[in-house]
């Protein structure tokens, strides 16, 4: 039996969503954040290889990293079409978008988000300079890269109902959460109608709504 160690208000919601979509049998242990620091409790951090969420255990195995857990859970469902196989026409698009969510788009969004937080928290007498410095990094680095990614996503979602093509896959679980958080944390910065419609479709899925309900406190607080 696998156990999801669920840290409230974190990227762990992605795995709850996956479990609700697939119906894989599991147990869930809830961990609240420290109300003062908003950090994960020590009991959680001690179990996770890097101290991060999401975290799943299976006997002696402890596995973190969203994409790794998605692959690990899908190993239990060899007949599922959530992970297109080598001969599936969706395979190349699936692999590209599945990995792009975690290795490119999410890190760029996190970097921009961390810069925003750092600007706000800078002491008031250097806040203007801090905003200038961090804003310049975002203008030169995260901005153009996010723009290229969102433009490619917009094109993909103009032609397709789902990220990898004409059916729901684990790439939607990887990207749906990432885009939902991007919107929560200050928008996509440009109007992307296909992308916005896609976020709406994903957030109306019954499995996503059940995941939100099971978390109980999910409000877009950073993971």
């Amino acid at each position: 039996m696998i156990t999801l160690h669920h840290l409230e208000n974190s990227a762990s919601i992605r795995i709850l969503w996956l479990l609700e979509e697939t119906g894989v049998e599991h147990e869930m242990v809830m961990y609240d954040r420290d109300p003062a620091t908003m950090l994960a409790p020590d009991a959680f951090k001690a179990l996770s290889p890097f101290g991060t969420a999401p975290l799943l255990t299976d006997g002696d195995v402890a596995i973190s990293e969203s994409a790794a857990i998605i692959d690990y859970v899908l190993d239990r469902l060899p007949d599922s079409d959530l992970r297109p196989g080598a001969d599936d026409p969706l395979r190349a698009d699936y692999l590209f978008w599945f990995h792009a969510a975690g290795a490119t788009v999410q890190p760029l969004l996190t970097m921009r988000f961390v810069h925003g937080i750092a600007s706000e928290r800078a002491p008031f007498f250097v806040r203007g300079v801090a905003k200038g410095v961090l804003g310049a990094v975002d203008k030169a680095f995260t901005g153009p890269r996010l723009s290229a990614a969102f433009t490619a996503l917009e094109a993909q979602l103009t032609d397709n109902e789902f990220i990898a093509g004409d059916r729901f896959t684990a790439a939607d679980i990887a990207f749906g959460y990432t885009l939902y958080m991007a919107r929560l944390r200050g928008g996509l910065l440009e109007p992307y109608p296909a992308l916005s419609g896609y976020i709406e479709r994903m957030t109306q899925r019954p499995a996503w709504l059940r995941a939100l309900e099971r978390d109980g406190k999910f409000m877009g607080v950073p993971g």
Copy 2:
């Protein structure tokens, strides 16, 4: 026939290494960076979904993202033990480290590297403040996270010759490059003897050396 569109001095070296390790038949097209801007040429950017390297094409398919390309190439080798299958005892560790390289460690290293470049390039009259602001972000954000990851890696490589256990897998291709670049770009900041020994072992592999030779100019310039 697959084609690697190889951008010199970039993360594309990871895919050259994979191709050399596996012997998968392929063609290679070389792209030089613009000598003034060090950016990829427009012909390269036009082919790649986000304009980034690495990039592989296969007929009409264009696929980027290192981890996606690794999975796509390994699909051609169903009997290879480079990607442990669902029943393999290395599976969980393989998945965790394979994804952690691209989705956690590489982005944190890139963020720290970009902050360093931004500090150096800031106009001299704000350089001190820029260094202070960006250094504070690294102290609060990338520093503790990289430290947790390197500590976990050090433990894993103290007990195992390779990242996922007792044999070479694609997780070594993902992480070996990341760690090699970390060392090139200013060290690992702490002494990690097992990790350093691992980097030495990886960079002595004949396939890695052949990949360096085929690139011809690889010196650790950012991808």
